[in-house]
């Protein structure tokens, strides 16, 4: 068995286990030490990942895809996880058991990574399961806070149904096509095998199951709740990291289906439109910032689906997908880092005049939002730009137009927040969390602005990436 192909994942597991053990043994004040272990694990895993650069092959009997898409998705997952870890020690300072949190976080990251790398439907199921199970835990981590347990429970309820649907769908596909490996499925579908109503049911359920991880319609309802109720580092993590994995996973599934076979792409387009519209409209009058970010991240999932729609129709679709995911991740993490740094401050009214009290945090929030809208020169602009280019190139002009209209809608609520932050009159002082979270805010804001510089590099490496099965 080519264990080396799994080296980064193993590093993560090892780090998770060490973190767990450390948490079990270390005294209370050193619990945050697990964070260091986790970060070390991530660093090692990143290094190992870079060794896989340029690989494009299946391994582990076709269950694991080593390709550019999974590579970069996993890099993003690890970086995002690392960022969430930065937010955590300050946030969980009162929680005596938060050493274990990092272990779960690492396993959740692993779940997302395995989603991105899954080359087999069964592997996909188990990856989704890993990601979900850890996700519920992360969301409900604040056991003594009603909203957190509520968020965890809802997340679980949604997830349980979605996973049941997912596995049912996969059973049907597997039963009808006789195989679960992507390579074989692609061949089978190309030959037109198994085309039957039951297969449609299977795909319908599978896509719904993945849509759950993506936070897309119809299984989007958990996202705002988790964004609002989960501990902020968890919320940051859960609105970003599983999506990265799920995006690649869904892309792979869509790639399996030849464009002429079923109108899967039109379906994804419809989902994209529904998702972004719903997310944006629901966020319009939101007066809770965390929930607003949650809804906006529903909407962003819709944009993300645009790239998946044109997969195989436009040569740049994968590039756009990766670029957009990256830009979204940075923007969303930045927004949550500000929320975390401000001690979870969430009522919009509390943000009035933030610019006076906390100029850096205010600026970071505004930049994050500008990035999420797609205003240049933030990185979000390039995400949207490549997305629009590829969508139009793929022949889905109407989708691009709808997305543009949606962007205008989204500007309304983002600008509303920006307006409050800059034009409002401040009331009272604003307490912040700690140095580390402040550092995270700085990092995020700078990343948003400076990632404009390596855009070319990013685009060209993304461009070289391939998505298995070819």
């Amino acid at each position: 068995m080519p264990i080396g192909d799994l080296a980064p994942e193993i590093a993560i597991i090892v780090a998770a286990v060490f973190a767990l053990l450390f948490a079990a043994l270390a005294p209370r004040r050193l619990q945050a030490g697990s964070a260091i272990i986790a970060l070390a694990g991530i660093a090692v895993a990143l290094a190992l990942l870079l060794l896989q650069l340029g690989e494009t092959r299946f391994t582990f009997s076709g269950t694991w895809a080593l390709d550019g898409a999974s590579l970069w998705a996993r890099v993003m997952i690890l970086l995002a996880t690392g960022f969430c870890i930065m937010l955590s020690p300050d946030w969980f300072r009162t929680d005596p058991r938060h050493g274990e949190y990092y272990a779960i976080l690492m396993l959740a990251a692993l779940g997302a990574m395995t989603m991105a790398g899954a080359g087999d439907l069964l592997q996909l199921v188990i990856a989704v399961l890993l990601s979900s199970v850890t996700g519920y835990t992360l969301a409900a981590w604040h056991r003594d806070w009603a909203l957190s347990v509520e968020a965890g429970m809802k997340y679980f309820l949604m997830g349980a149904l979605a996973n049941a649907l997912l596995i049912t769908g996969i059973v049907l596909i597997l039963g009808l096509l006789g195989t679960s490996g992507y390579q074989d499925i692609a061949i089978a579908l190309k030959l037109g095998k198994g085309l039957s109503p039951l297969l449609f049911v299977g795909f319908a359920m599978t896509i719904t199951g993945v849509a759950f991880k993506l936070g897309a319609v119809p299984a989007h309802a958990w996202l705002p709740d988790v964004a609002e109720g989960a501990p902020v580092p968890s919320a940051a993590f859960l609105t970003v990291v599983p999506k990265i994995g799920a995006a690649i996973a869904l892309a792979r599934v869509v790639q399996l289906v030849p464009p002429e076979f079923m109108n899967l792409r039109e379906l994804i387009a419809v989902l994209a439109v529904t998702t972004m519209t719903l997310g944006n409209l629901a966020a319009l009058r939101q007066d809770d910032l965390r929930r607003l970010i949650g809804w906006s991240s529903v909407a962003q999932a819709g944009y993300l689906l645009m790239a998946i729609t044109v997969l195989g129709l436009s040569p740049n679709a994968l590039t756009a997908l990766l670029a957009f995911v990256a830009s979204y991740a940075i923007g969303n993490l930045a927004a949550f880092s500000v929320v975390a740094h401000l001690r979870g401050r969430t009522a919009l009214g509390d943000y009035d005049g933030l610019a006076v009290r906390q100029p850096v945090a205010a600026a970071a929030l505004v930049i994050a939002f500008l990035s999420l809208v797609g205003i240049p020169p933030t990185v979000g602009f390039f995400g949207k730009l490549t997305l629009f280019i590829t969508t139009i190139e793929g022949g889905f002009l109407w989708l691009a137009v709808v997305a543009a209209a949606n962007t205008v809608v989204s500007l309304y609520f983002y600008a509303h927040v920006m307006g409050r932050v800059y034009f409002g009159t401040p009331t009272g002082d604003v307490a912040v969390l700690g140095r580390l979270s402040g550092l995270a805010v700085w990092v995020a804001a700078i990343a948003l602005l400076l990632s404009v510089i390596p855009v070319e590099t990013a685009l060209s490496v993304f461009d070289m990436s391939r998505l298995l099965p070819l």
Binding site: M153, K154, L157, M158, L161, A162, L165, L195, P197, F200, V201, F203, A204, M205, I207, T208, A211, F212, V217, P218, A219, A221, W222, P224, D225, M262, N263, L264, E266, L267, V270, L271, L278, N280, L281, A282, A283, L284, R285, Q286, V409, Y412
Partner: protein, 638 residues
Amino acid sequence: MMLWLLPLVPILAGAIIATLGDRSRLSLGIMTVATLGTTLLLALLGVSQDWTATLVWTDVIRLSAAFVPVSAAVAIMVPTVALAVVFHATQNESKSGLARLIGLMILFTGGMELVVVANDLLTLLIGWELIGACSWALISHKWRKLDNPQSGLYAFVVTRTGDLGLFAALMALFTATGSFDYAGIQSLGGPLQWIVGFGILFSAASKAGQVPFSPWLFRAMAGPTSVSALLHAATLVAAGAYLVARLHPQLAEVPGFEATAIAIGLTTALAGGITGILQNHAKRLLAASTSAQLGFMFVAIGAGYPSIAVLHMIVHATFKAPLFLSAGIAGDAAGTYRLDRLRLGRELPVVAALTIIAIAGLAGLVGSGGGWSKEEIIKASEHTGFWLALTVMAGGALSAIYATRFQLLAYGRRDKDADSRATSAPGWVALIGIAALTMMTLTLSLLWFSPVAETAAAALDTTLPKGSTLVFGLSLLFVFTGIAIGVYLVRYHPALGATGPAAIASDWLGLPKLIDIVLVRPADAIAVAAARMDDRVVDRGIRGTAACGDWLARTAAKADDRVVDRGVRGTAVFGDWLARVGNRFGEAITDGIPEASARLTDMIGQDLRRLQTGLSHHYYAYIIGGVFAIFAILVVGA
């Protein structure tokens, strides 16, 4: 290039003087003499040296200036008259804002010079609009009274409406020839030619106060008297006639151009004459007369004698300016411009004497410059047709009537038993301007000597029209009849003008009653006449004429005031209404579309948000419904 100096010197100097702030009358006078004197010198020099100038904006847009005989004459006339008028203003106008007034007047003169020397439509338009704007500033001069700026606005908007014609001509000319040169107009044909011709005529008519634009001239009376003098004599109003005269060679080919010019001119001459007769406001009488006189010029141009028109313009300038100035002095002295209240002959003998010289021109008396040029116009129109000459003569008679009225009413002697008024006669400095102008008028009487006239004609590169003695005789008859009627009117109906449409006075009531008697109840009048036949016949004849004239004038005035004025005002009101409606509803609609869509989005957003009930079983329902929907989409696509 030197030719640019001619307009530029007064424009710059005027601008500087306008911003100088308060200065004494003396220093302002010196400045005026210096500036306008220089201008005059420049004009003379330019004419003698035949200066030209161009200013390149782009390869296609060149501003150019040059003299032709017609413009040379006007170019000299303008600063000459302006010098006198402005100097008069420095000595007589009220002190407040005097520097600004003088500066603007000088600037105004410069603008006029630009119009005069312009050799292409663009340059012309620049000067043209410039004098329009100056007229606004000058009419609004006493801005503390809101009426004045309103009048200025009115004048500017009306004249600018006319300017649109020039714009149209400009556009058409360029489209056809790719340049703005006057020279290009001749080569035109078809609708573009038509646009150019009538655009220019339209524009000129509006500036010249021709029907139907005449009312603005009355409103323009809101300005100081010197401004009126300048406006009517040398600049704005004259510019209208000048333009058509200047471009006559180019425009004569335009079908219907000459006929229209004659029609406009004639209508205005008659309507203006009658209005003038009926005016009881000294300045308005003169204003109406300006319209009428410019009407003569239009007729002359239409008859094919632009040079005659220009000559008349020059002559007109020299007598109209002193008349206005004198009216101003009289008005200042009496505190009113109501003719029936003036009769300042005793108090202002010098002014009265000077005015008489000028008024001779207005009346068209033989021996006066005005008389000469009017006769020339009659001669010219005779070439078109006897009827035209006759009509012009009638117009001349009307001029004679109102000129007589003006003179006698303004400077007649009052009954001895009237209260003596404490008026101080103006000092000699204050009269220099008016005296100078009168001298010019006198000088122009020399035109009656045919060598002088021939020289003038030669200078203008034209020949004088030959007229028949019969016509000349008739014309004289008309003039003297007019004077007689005027004398009669003054004697027996001194308050006649008080019924003028614009005046509101208590003694108005007399005349309507009289008209009522004469027109409505002729039988009664005949019955009364039985006793004193002679008297009555004459009386009735005159009364009848007067009544007729009055009726005509009233109709004309009504047409002017009600129809035209209301038309203009109506347009303004309509524009206002449109603006307000546009603002309220149009904007509501155009803005409503985005606003409403925003609100709709908001509402849908609210509704969609309520889907998120917080209850997981609803979310379950969404998921299951979603699966069904996705399945349906897939099936439909298959």
